[in-house]
């Protein structure tokens, strides 16, 4: 079995999601990494040192500065015949590109894999994680996105894998990248953080979120939110945790003023320890929490923050 893992990076560094995908891929067979980007020599050089890789393919070209699915999918297609499996992390980029590639190859995408049974058989959550499906693929090349929280990260070593340059392929002029507005974030990345502090509609305003942010900063935590908090404009979109937002599984997840709708639980119920602070003692969030505190968050959160050194 030969597996190709598509690297997730920002042209400066390899993002942690890549390391989860590599480790998942190792369960199948020999793993090559494909770095597609522009001015991304550092990514190639560090990707090269991920433990256990066979080869690193790269295409370092200005047309790949921004990962448009149209261009990336045809480029991956051009090398696909050497592989039995192509793995992506289930990031926004992975979700955008992997199904497009699968259709080009006339295979069915296998999204959001949480467990690899054998090279044909996988487990994936459906219905917001309320059920787990075991699926078997009959395709010759399997295109997969892996749920990063379900796999450990590969580590970096000393040994360097061989590097192979791949030439750019057909470029579309029908889609143009214009700009990005990335939210500035001094905190750890939400999906990779050890601790996540999340707030919901119970916070009431974006100003009030500062009490949670103080707690997060003391803990070195990332900030998350429910959809209701995002929709109300309290916090940016990319903080949303849930079925249709980000999936997180930190060591500690603190939910304050979040009721615990199934769509929210879908994104955090695999966290190791869950703390819920909600003034409604019947809130469904308490059914998944390890430690529940039925109290007013405006009182409890600052108190907790003070106790932490």
């Amino acid at each position: 079995m030969n597996v190709l893992v598509i690297a997730e990076h920002n042209n400066d560094e390899i993002l942690p999601a890549t390391l989860n995908a590599v480790n998942a891929a190792k369960q199948i067979g020999t793993v090559d990494l494909f770095v597609i980007g522009n001015d991304c020599q550092d990514v190639i050089d560090s990707g090269n040192k991920i433990e256990g890789l066979n080869k690193v393919l790269f295409c370092n070209n200005k047309v790949y500065e921004n990962p448009l699915a149209e261009n990336i999918s045809t480029l991956i297609q051009s090398v696909s015949k050497d592989y039995t499996h192509i793995f992506f992390a289930n990031t926004a980029n992975g979700k955008n590109t992997a199904p497009r590639l699968a259709a080009l190859l006339d295979v069915m995408i296998i999204p959001d894999v949480i467990e690899i049974i054998d090279h044909n058989t996988f487990k994936r959550p459906i219905y917001a994680g309320n059920a787990i499906a075991t699926v078997r693929s009959s395709d010759t090349c399997k295109v997969i996105t892996v749920r990063t929280t379900a796999f450990e990260k590969a580590t970096f070593g000393e040994k360097e894998a061989a590097k192979i340059e791949i030439l750019s392929s057909e470029i579309t002029n029908l889609t143009k990248y214009i700009s990005s507005e990335l939210s500035k974030n001094e905190r750890p990345e939400l999906t990779a953080a050890d601790i996540v502090v999340s707030g919901g509609r119970g916070l009431g305003s974006s100003e009030n979120f500062q009490i949670l942010e103080k707690l997060a900063d003391k803990l070195g935590a990332a900030m998350g939110a429910s959809r209701a908090a995002v929709d109300a404009g309290y916090v940016p979109n990319d903080w949303q945790v849930g079925q249709t937002g980000k999936v997180v599984a930190p060591d500690l997840y603190i939910a304050a003023g979040i009721s615990g709708a199934i769509q929210h639980l879908a994104g955090m119920k695999d966290s190791k320890v869950i703390v819920a602070i909600n003034k409604d003692e019947d809130a469904p969030i308490f059914t998944v929490s390890d430690y529940g505190l039925a109290d007013d968050l405006f009182k409890a959160v600052p108190e907790l923050e003070k106790l932490i050194k």
Partner: protein, 249 residues
């Protein structure tokens, strides 16, 4: 400009689903079904483009068992002009759905297709991207803002770190994220009117598409349950548990 909106009938998002005892799937008897929430947003966006005079016609399409026609009727009641129903009784996967919709889009001279980013039953998040590949059209997934002028669409997309803005040339595919718009409710007069709007049935056999599943579902099981936790009385107790029992801070 003709807009095609694929709509899927799914278990309503408020229902707590149950796995069947024989682990063959989800219990669907007597369960409330609705239009996939992302597809309501897709219909809404198409209707707004029509109301602005940008689109001339909005067609809703659904593929599946005979009851999916109810979902098409919902779209018609919201304001879509007509529907297309493709009856398939076998289990469908996004690749098959994409092939069916792509072949119909070609015949109907569609200029723009708006889909949900994800169906909340299978959570695939794949069909729009697959149709784009099959038609070799540009794709703008996870859209939170769409502006159309002439033959191009400027789309803001929700990506991991924030928002990305791209420009695509029509014909193209857009998939909706939750924040694109707030879908309308169908008014009673419009529900009545919708009963008279046409739904054209297309036979899947006439499309000459292989509908065998490539990704077979072997088993559907309950997720592992979390062990019940405890309620603490005070913040001090919580702090103590986190520090000394769970050892996470």
């Amino acid at each position: 400009m003709k807009i095609l909106v694929p709509v899927k009938r799914v278990v309503d998002y408020n229902v707590k689903v149950r796995v069947k005892n024989d682990e063959s799937g989800i219990e669907l008897d007597n369960v409330k079904m609705s239009m996939n929430p992302f597809d309501e947003i897709a219909v809404e966006e198409a209707l707004r483009l029509k109301e602005k005079g940008i689109a001339s016609e909005v067609i809703a399409i659904s593929i599946g068992v005979t009851q999916v026609q109810e979902t098409i009727r919902n779209a018609l009641a919201m304001g879509a002009d007509s529907g297309i129903f493709v009856e398939v009784n076998d289990t469908l996967e996004p690749l098959t759905v994409a092939k069916i919709i792509a072949s119909i889009a070609k015949k109907e001279n569609i200029d723009l297709m708006i889909l949900g980013k994800q169906a909340i039953d299978d959570d695939m998040n794949a069909t729009g991207q697959m149709i784009s590949a099959l038609l070799n059209w540009p794709q703008a997934t996870f859209a939170s803002k769409v502006e159309i002028t002439d033959k191009t669409a400027k789309v803001s997309r929700e990506v991991d770190g924030g928002t990305e803005n791209i420009e695509i040339t029509l014909p193209a595919i857009i998939t909706t994220d939750l924040r694109l718009n707030e879908p309308r409710y169908a008014s009673l007069p419009n529900i009545m009117k919708a009963k008279k709007k046409p739904i054209n049935e297309i036979k899947v056999n006439d499309l000459k598409i292989d509908i065998t599943q490539k990704l077979e579902i072997l088993k559907v099981e309950e997720p592992s349950k979390r062990e019940a936790g405890i309620m603490v009385k005070t913040v001090e107790e919580l702090f103590d548990k986190l520090q000394n029992e769970a050892k996470v801070i």
